[in-house]
């Protein structure tokens, strides 16, 4: 017979009450685990996309114009007097101090061109990386693969009166309209996309680029420093970080995080309250029993140990169950919350350890007053027979 025998036997005797207490705390822990895991998984998913697909630095020629623009390039009607960046200058970007943070450099060449008597803006891109970056593009027809394949924006296709599979002649060369984009609501709707090398040739800009999009491979990497370093290598270029999209997404996620933590805090508080009320009830029900313990020589500290041990055992169970239920909830909810269906659920031992520890701390904290109350019971009052 030890003090823990008394605690264990009491828990066995009061199964329903202890189950209620466990569930109350478990719900709080599960809520926290679900919300933390969801927000971290969603953040990780967005950061992964930013690393893989997102250009977050834009390199453009220095310009004073403010006419039609693509990524900050001023066009001034069908002609523009921008200086282009030399294609060979792009190699200098890979020599910056933080070159290891660069995952992709995607050059583009732009120029006005006449097709079937219509003036259009021709954009030369690397189709493979462009399609990878612009996940929101929906292509009717086929994705362009060859040098003579074109991809048209929906408005450009209407103006030129072409559909996927049709042919267009540009400066004596025949091209195939491989696909037409679904309406994006952006400048892309009015553009004609061709392969980068072919566009350079058509526009007479071999060896030159109009702008470059640079993807930095990291979350939280020194974008500001990288912008400065690239600007030093390309003094004739304007280098800027594409803050808006990134910050917009992160801001939304940040708001969700704060709301989640506030909700989790409320639920945890309620769980702790359930523990407190249940333990106080349990102590008051055991007045006579505690009186017997004190009468036969149990110290106040012995009484406290009995009560707190019961709370600790229940809290540990609630922590384990809460973590399991929380991760299950996150797994179910993530496909609906994340942008991609294949977003990965993050399993983190720190979250596991943290949630179990939190349950233990909360359970003990909520039981401290009931334990103190029990230890201070007057044995003669408690027993009433003496």
């Amino acid at each position: 017979m030890k003090l823990h025998t008394i605690s264990l036997n009491n828990l066995r005797r009061r199964k329903a009450k202890m189950a209620f207490l466990t569930i109350g705390l478990m719900v709080g822990i599960a809520t926290i685990v679900t919300l933390i895991t969801l927000t971290r998984s969603m953040s990780s998913d967005i950061e992964r996309k930013m690393d893989e697909f997102g250009a977050n630095i834009l390199v453009t020629p220095q310009s004073n114009g403010l006419a039609m623009n693509y990524g900050g390039i001023s066009l001034g009607g069908v002609t523009f007097d921008q200086r282009e960046i030399r294609e060979t200058d792009l190699a200098k970007i890979t020599t910056i101090t933080n070159h290891k943070n660069i995952s992709a450099i995607s050059p583009k060449v732009l120029g006005g061109i006449t097709i079937n008597s219509h003036d259009v803006l021709l954009v030369g891109v690397n189709f493979a990386s462009e399609l990878k970056m612009k996940q929101w593009w929906k292509v009717f027809g086929n994705e362009p693969k060859g040098e003579h394949d074109l991809l048209l924006g929906t408005d450009a296709a209407k103006v030129l009166n072409v559909a996927p599979g049709d042919r267009l002649t540009i400066r004596g060369e025949t091209f195939t309209v491989a696909g037409v984009l679904d309406q994006t609501g952006s400048q892309d709707d009015a553009l004609v996309f061709a392969s980068f090398k072919k566009a350079q040739k058509l526009l007479g800009k071999e060896g030159k680029i109009t702008l470059a999009e640079v993807a930095a491979l990291c979350s939280g990497c020194p974008i500001g420093d990288m912008v400065t370093q690239i600007a030093e290598k390309l003094p004739d270029a304007k280098v800027s970080a594409i803050q808006q999209v990134v910050e917009g997404r992160l801001k939304a996620l940040d708001q969700f995080k704060r709301f989640s933590y506030a909700m989790a805090g409320v639920v945890v508080f309620i769980g702790s309250l359930i523990v407190f009320v249940t333990m106080m009830g349990s102590v008051n029900e055991r007045t006579t029993e505690i009186g017997v313990f004190r009468a036969i020589g149990f110290r106040k500290s012995h009484i406290m140990r009995i009560i707190l041990l019961e709370a600790a055992l229940v809290s540990l169970l609630a922590g384990f169950l809460g973590y399991a239920v929380g991760m299950g909830g996150a797994k179910l909810a993530l496909p609906f919350m994340a942008e991609a269906k294949n977003a990965k659920l993050l399993w983190d031992s720190w979250v596991a350890g943290g949630s179990i520890s939190l349950a233990l701390v909360l359970g003990l904290a909520a039981s401290l007053y009931p334990a103190l109350h029990a230890s201070k019971m007057d044995p003669t009052e408690a027993l009433r027979a003496l």
Partner: protein
């Protein structure tokens, strides 16, 4: 030197602005091995006297000494330690722990003692055998009769070999035949050297004791 020395003991209670003297200048001595019954009407102060003797009720004034130790000079939790090592209690309503078996109830005072669990089991088994319940170790209290529960309570009180056994109306809830059996058990324990101080309102129980102290209105009327 007497085992128990009570000198000029007074205990006042205040209730609704009124002060009531539960004990008023009580003087009692008891030697080791004595069996003493304390009798009196309801409200005479006998239960208060027992609770003061048991180290659970600080007197308003006076001295209580047991085995040469002034009980209420002991600091803080030392009084609890004294109860654990020197005293055994038998309560009127048995007060067995309902979710512990007879053996576990008897082992309860040993839960705070540094002793190997097998030794605790042996001590508890011996105490239960001594009170005639050697074959009912695994029964829960609600599976025992009133007399058997009282015996378990007595076994719990003697398992740690206390100097003094304090009993508060141990036959209060029992029929006359069972009462006689329980009183015979107390007599048996006393014959083997146990000091017993018993509060009772039943005059028949006095014949088992060496002497009886009568209380009236908080005072000893004869000793």
């Amino acid at each position: 030197m007497a085992l128990i020395e009570i000198e000029n003991l007074t205990k006042h209670y205040t209730s609704g602005g009124e002060t009531v003297a539960a004990l008023a200048g009580v003087n009692i001595t008891a030697d080791a091995g004595e069996f003493i019954t304390i009798m009196g009407q309801s409200g005479s102060g006998k239960s208060t006297l027992l609770s003061v003797l048991g180290g659970m009720n600080h007197p308003t004034s006076g001295e209580v000494a047991m085995a040469g130790i002034k009980l209420y000079d002991l600091p803080g939790e030392k009084l609890a330690d004294f109860r654990a090592s020197h005293l055994g209690f038998v309560f009127q309503s048995f007060h067995l722990i309902p979710y512990l078996t007879a053996l576990e109830n008897v082992m309860l005072p040993l839960a705070i003692v540094k002793m190997a669990t097998p030794a605790k089991r042996t001590a508890a088994r011996t105490a239960l055998e001594r009170v005639g319940l050697g074959k009912k170790l695994d029964r829960l209290p609600n599976q025992l009769s009133g007399g058997e529960q009282e015996r378990v309570a007595i076994a719990r009180a003697i398992v740690n070999n206390p100097h003094i056994l304090l009993a508060d109306e141990p036959t209060g809830n029992l029929d006359s035949r069972t009462s006689d059996e329980v009183m015979a058990l107390f007599r048996e324990l006393n014959d083997s050297g146990q000091t017993v101080i018993m509060v009772t309102h039943n005059p028949d129980n006095g014949r088992y004791a060496d002497r009886t102290i009568h209380l009236r209105d908080g005072k000893v009327v004869d000793a």
